[in-house]
Symmetry: C2
Subunit: 414 residues, 2 copies
């Protein structure tokens, strides 16, 4: 096989995570090690940049900026929720790649967005254009199959568990009894994030908050919910419960759908449960909806997660340079008692359209708590604290200089 | 004056702050220095403990526990929102104090709750019972008069500004334009907390997020709000705005009142503004309601604030031992260019029933941004990061052992 020489391109897609930029830093740092990679480009706003030929020169960024990416939240290159669907979109992407001699393409994204990577790979093959496409996993939802866990998840649950711990101390000190604290977390389709809140419990303290965890995997009924809350209030005088936003009833319908003037979306489960508690039990309830901070609170990210996000970026480059393509980098947990993690590769086709659910056998029979299997799985993912630089009292994050790459093609109407 | 010898008692009241326990630690540490103070007691759940004779022995707590209080959120002794009003309540408190030879009473609380301290002082004087009562300031709302600022405020705005910074990076990366991020912060009566979000702006970057700050001090109109948002969207393509929960219209009525099945309360301003933006501008809006994390996120507290919270605890003991009573410890800012802060004393009567407003001259003419006077005031308060110990990936907080003090009186029906 003749060595492939050319430029590389990185794109970020979907919702950011606290560590999504660490993967960009990993790609850039590793790309510099390989002379077959000439220019290192970033696509602005994910696939929009691919269509609009909106590239920036990442090699011209300072070393500090690339290092700073390892602790900076948001998607530093910009992202989008657009999916490429039409055949002409993929033709356009190929034209743009050819115009810039892109030979190595790194796509940071979740299961849905890796479909785009797979289709770009397919389009290149159809045109006999030698292109290496490697997907890099990213999602706080932890629902990518084929990988033990996803970069972004560890930091999200570290933040959630720490916040639940702090809110619980606050609630526990309010002293007049019968106070229900409802923490609403993200996770439309699965309970990975809600389950992560359980890490707030101290070892061997099963009665620690969160007292109840409601997962989208366990059908919700108001009767059981009210019984659960009453039981905890009797025992603890206050109750801290965590609910995933996508709770469903026994028929699979969302328990709470929030109306917005522009769209209907899942959410508002916290307020729904609050009304139940106040109306049916008469206890005071308060809602903490953690919202977007779950994916952006880089000041409290997990060092393990951040390091792994960097590692998958490096591994993607190594794989591409070694001739791999149409693959997703995965995280592979070691077998030993002590946590170790290495990278692997999986076919993109194994990932696309599949979502990894929280294993039902990790949920206790009560339906509102997790057993040791979940703790064994998740505890290592939140270990270590990223040292974020502070300036003038606040975390100091980088913004890329974003030196544009000259466009060579006529514009494109998507 | 004969030296007063006896026991001391500490009570926490109202909503917790991230540093409310640092003041308890300061009292305990300083009390140990003075032989005239014999036992060091804590009242469980604020004034409820005073009525119910529910005391714990703080001197029996370990050194680690007292040190751990300096970084633990929630009110470690418990708190409550009850106010003592009836004359017989104060008689009861005096009986309890006499039964336990309480001669030094330290009341940690905001303006409203210091009224209780003042009345206890008055009741003691009426009965010729020699009691030193010292109030210790505490509130994230920063609305206590007589003191330059309040312990609790600096940590709250450090958390708010850092979170706004992180949410802004997330929003800025979403790339498809016309996204409005609405951050709802506490502050029913004043804009101190909302104003603090401005610290997220980098020096000399007035166009940094938050782009717009809505304060309860500035009457709200939908027309101006929509104009403001449209202007920012045109310039920045996205808009991050911060709103205090207690925004009022020109007649002084709350713009948004949230209905709960048990009570109506201020709140929901975020959803109200979201509906305005989506309905009138057609832009996508998302709400981050920071909620109770603003007062409990001890993992991101300000070292300056935490140290000052400890300092006011120490100062309270020194004042009481020196014969002062019926006073509030205050924070007094030095005159120099570099921030310094010392403690002072003010009559409790100067504080009770008064609230300190954000000075109108610190708000720019546009009504949605703060000028250099606010930055000069607030920037020093968020400096420094408290080093919170971590265990197993999460902040490690202390719980007091709470060894009860024997009751000697018959029970009391409040």
């Amino acid at each position: 096989m003749a060595e492939l020489v050319g430029n590389c391109l990185i794109a970020q897609s979907g919702g950011p995570t606290a560590v999504i930029n660490a993967s960009v830093a990993g790609v850039v740092a590793e790309a510099l090690n390989h002379s077959c990679i000439e220019e290192i480009y970033g696509s602005l706003n994910g696939v929009l940049g691919l269509l609009n030929e909106d590239f920036v020169d990442l090699a011209s960024e300072s070393q500090q900026a690339i290092r700073g990416l390892r602790t900076t939240p948001g998607a530093a290159l910009g992202t989008c929720r657009t999916k490429l669907k039409k055949p002409q979109d993929f033709e356009r992407v190929l034209s743009v790649f050819k115009a810039h001699n892109i030979r190595f393409y790194f796509h940071i994204g979740d299961s849905g967005s890796q479909e785009t990577a797979a289709k770009i790979s397919e389009a290149a093959e159809a045109q006999n254009y030698d292109l290496r496409v490697i997907g890099i996993p990213k999602t706080i939802d932890n629902d990518l199959p084929a990988t033990d866990h996803c970069p972004g998840y560890g930091s999200a649950i570290k933040y959630i568990a720490a916040t639940v711990k702090e809110l619980s101390l606050d609630a526990d000190s309010m002293g007049q009894g019968d106070l229900v604290t409802i923490v609403e977390v993200m996770g439309r389709n699965s309970g990975w994030l809600a389950a992560g809140a359980s890490l707030a419990k101290r070892r061997d303290h099963p009665n620690d908050p969160p007292h109840l965890v409601y997962l989208p995997e366990v059908p919700f009924t108001s009767e059981k919910f009210l019984d659960d809350v009453r039981r905890v209030l009797k025992r603890e005088k206050h109750c801290v419960l965590v609910a995933g936003e996508g709770l469903v009833d026994k028929d699979g319908n969302f328990v709470s759908v929030e109306n917005s003037t522009t769209e209907a979306q899942v959410g508002g489960i916290g307020e729904f449960l609050k009304d139940l508690v106040e109306g049916q039990i008469g206890a005071k309830a308060r809602v903490a909806r953690l919202g977007l901070t779950q994916r952006s609170a880089a000041h409290l990210s997990s060092k393990t997660d951040s390091d792994e996000a960097y590692l998958v970026g490096q591994a993607a480059v190594k794989a591409a340079v070694n001739g791999e393509s149409d693959k997703l980098v995965t995280l592979v947990r070691g077998d030993g008692d002590n946590y170790t993690c290495d990278t692997g590769l999986s076919a993109l086709s194994d990932v696309v359209g599949n979502l990894k659910k929280l294993p039902p056998e990790w949920v206790n029979e009560d339906g509102v708590s997790l057993n040791f299997q979940f703790f064994r799985y998740a505890t290592p993912l939140i270990q270590g604290e990223v040292v974020v630089p502070y300036e003038n009292g606040l975390p100091s994050y980088v913004r890329l200089h974003k030196e544009g790459v000259d466009k060579t093609l006529p514009g494109y109407e998507a």
